[in-house]
């Protein structure tokens, strides 16, 4: 393989029978999905649905067998380093280093992605300006608000010009204005670079507004897949057939409820205990 990517016609991401267990708990249980280049793909589902586990498998953090996950045609199990060069990753927690300035936070990622010395400074500036942190670049990240930290993390991920950006609940714990700001910056950069975005979220309005296609996960499996409009239309159809056509048009939240049902309290919630812990930690750091 001489080129950095397999073939340019390959899917940005393809999962085939992706499965992963923690001990006896099957967190992801046979997920098949493909994400087209340039798409914004949303992964929805209740806590414990397996979203974060799937993302950790895609980002090479969890060992999965060859053949399960490919990024732009490269197998994550076989060509780990090459895949990582294509990825930008923003984890669920607010993970910028509070003891460094915004610029230094981005600089670290420029270094570990081998940005040459003379290109480093302009690239860092461009990444910071793309997320609207040009003016705050030399302040300590510890003084940033939650929304600014998120945008800083976005800059950290963008500095290496990823082709697939993976965001795990990027707007969790943020106020509505900060949420919009994160998404606006993301949309701008995506329009300029044509990168692919894979995002998990609990906010149905975000999924509806910003995602081209959605996969709804529940208990480790994909239960529904399609554009937001299609998912809503399908539910409307289903309701019409069962004779309850009179209600208001279904929202994405109705779709979510339809597929995840009473999923919020089921026994599998224990499987993602760590998720909850991390979210709490994030919440306390934001608060």
């Amino acid at each position: 393989m001489t080129d950095r990517t397999g073939t340019d016609t390959a899917d940005a991401l393809s999962c085939t029978g992706l499965a992963y267990s923690f001990g006896g708990a099957r967190a992801v249980d046979g997920v098949d999905l493909t994400v087209a280049p340039g798409e914004v793909f949303g992964l929805l589902g209740p806590n414990g649905a397996g979203k974060t586990t799937a993302i950790r498998a895609i980002t090479t953090l969890l060992p999965v067998p060859a053949g399960m996950v490919q990024v732009f045609g490269l197998d994550v199990a076989r060509e780990r380093m090459a895949v990582r060069r294509l990825l930008g990753y923003v984890p669920q927690q607010l993970s910028a280093d509070a003891n460094l300035t915004g610029r230094e936070n981005v600089e670290l990622f420029a270094r570990v992605y081998d940005v040459p010395r003379r290109e480093r400074a302009p690239r860092i500036v461009q990444a910071l300006e793309a997320v609207g942190l040009g003016d705050a670049a030399d302040r300590m990240a510890g003084t940033y608000s939650g929304g600014m930290v998120r945008r800083l993390e976005l800059a950290q991920a963008l500095v290496s010009a990823p082709r697939l950006l993976i965001l795990d609940e990027p707007t969790i714990g943020l106020d509505p204005i900060a949420r919009t700001s994160v998404w606006d910056r993301l949309t701008e950069v995506r329009a300029a670079t044509g990168m692919t975005v894979l995002v998990t979220t609990h906010y149905m309005d975000e999924a509806d507004q910003y995602c081209d296609r959605l996969a709804l996960m529940h208990r480790g499996r994909v239960r529904a897949l399609g554009t937001p409009g299609r998912l809503k239309a399908e539910l409307a159809d289903r309701r019409a057939r069962s004779g309850e056509a009179d209600g208001p048009a279904p929202t994405l939240e109705d779709v979510f409820r339809h597929f995840a049902g009473s999923g919020l309290t089921d026994e599998q919630a224990g499987g993602e205990f760590r998720d909850v812990r991390n979210t709490r930690r994030t919440a306390s750091r934001v608060g």
């Binding site: 914004v40 669920q92 990444a127 300006e129 082709r163 507004q209």
Partner: protein, 286 residues
């Protein structure tokens, strides 16, 4: 499947300063394989220095304990003459031991730090970059070394103020730097390895405290190994701290030492530590 990027949605792309892709559209080229390792180690050391530049409090607070060891313990025992030091004042004998001790205390903290970084998402993010586990661990190990060298300079200055007669030969001081870096690399890797096994901060803190004490006392940092009972001498023989102290004494004070053996043991220990910690790093990612 559309190969062209999906058209951005109206309503969110109307911001005045929509940036042209610029450099953010061009992925940086990978370094040739052999240069990745030193580059990552360099990146980690730079971060360590940047942090120290922003906040020197740790540097000051960490200088207190070694200063007290030299000032209280050292000044007292140098008058007691109970420990055979081979003819040099006890305070002089003690100073290299305290340098090694303070470097070890810094290094042992790195396991706790890596767990904190795991919990806060910093570590997972780094593990998704094109950085092999071994390069990440070596980076942390040498970052610990950087911090320890700065700490060593502080202790040497305090010792000099207290009248310890040390060498100012630059070549020997360079040797001191290497010894301190290698020792810190080993102890930080020891700590990161334990972190990779126990996985939580609480457990690691207990273990960290339980091992630093014996590592320190079962070494030649405070007294010659010859004074110890046989079984403790055996422990001291496999304790890298003893070799570190022996080398530091030889370099700083010119006392009889086994420099080649010391360097050999420290290099092997550091390499073994990096290997062990990197093989356990995957457990922290999971």
């Amino acid at each position: 499947m559309s190969a062209t990027p999906v058209v951005p949605r109206p309503g969110s792309a109307e911001s005045p300063a929509a940036p042209a892709a610029g450099l953010l559209g061009v992925p940086p080229r990978a370094r040739p394989g052999w240069r990745v390792f030193p580059a990552r180690v360099g990146a980690m050391c730079v971060v360590e220095l940047q942090k120290l530049r922003h906040d020197r409090t740790e540097l000051y607070t960490r200088a207190v304990q070694p200063a007290l060891w030299l000032l209280i313990f050292g000044e007292t025992f140098t008058r007691l003459h109970v420990i055979p030091t081979g003819g040099i004042p006890y305070l002089d004998y003690l100073a290299p031991g305290i340098i090694a001790q303070s470097a070890m205390f810094i290094a042992i903290f790195y396991g706790i730090m890596i767990i904190w970084e795991r919990d806060s998402g910093v570590l997972p993010k780094l593990l998704v970059t094109p950085t092999p586990h071994s390069a990440l661990v070596a980076g942390k190990a040498f970052a610990a070394g950087v911090k320890s060298v700065i700490q060593a300079v502080v202790v040497i200055l305090i010792a000099a103020v207290l009248g310890v007669a040390m060498t100012w030969n630059p070549l020997r001081l360079l040797g001191v730097v290497v010894v301190v870096v290698l020792g810190s690399a080993f102890f930080s890797c020891l700590s990161m390895s334990i972190a990779g096994i126990v996985l939580t901060r609480d457990r690691l803190m207990g273990i960290g405290q339980a091992i630093t004490m014996p590592l320190f006392f079962a070494s030649n940092a405070l007294y010659p190994v010859a004074l110890m009972p046989g079984w403790l001498q055996a422990v001291s023989k496999v304790n890298p701290l003893s070799y570190q102290v022996d080398a530091l004494r030889g370099l700083l004070l010119g006392t009889p030492s086994h420099l080649w053996l010391d360097f050999g043991v420290l290099i092997l220990a550091a390499l073994a530590g990096i290997a062990a910690a990197s093989s356990l790093m995957g457990r922290l990612a999971r």
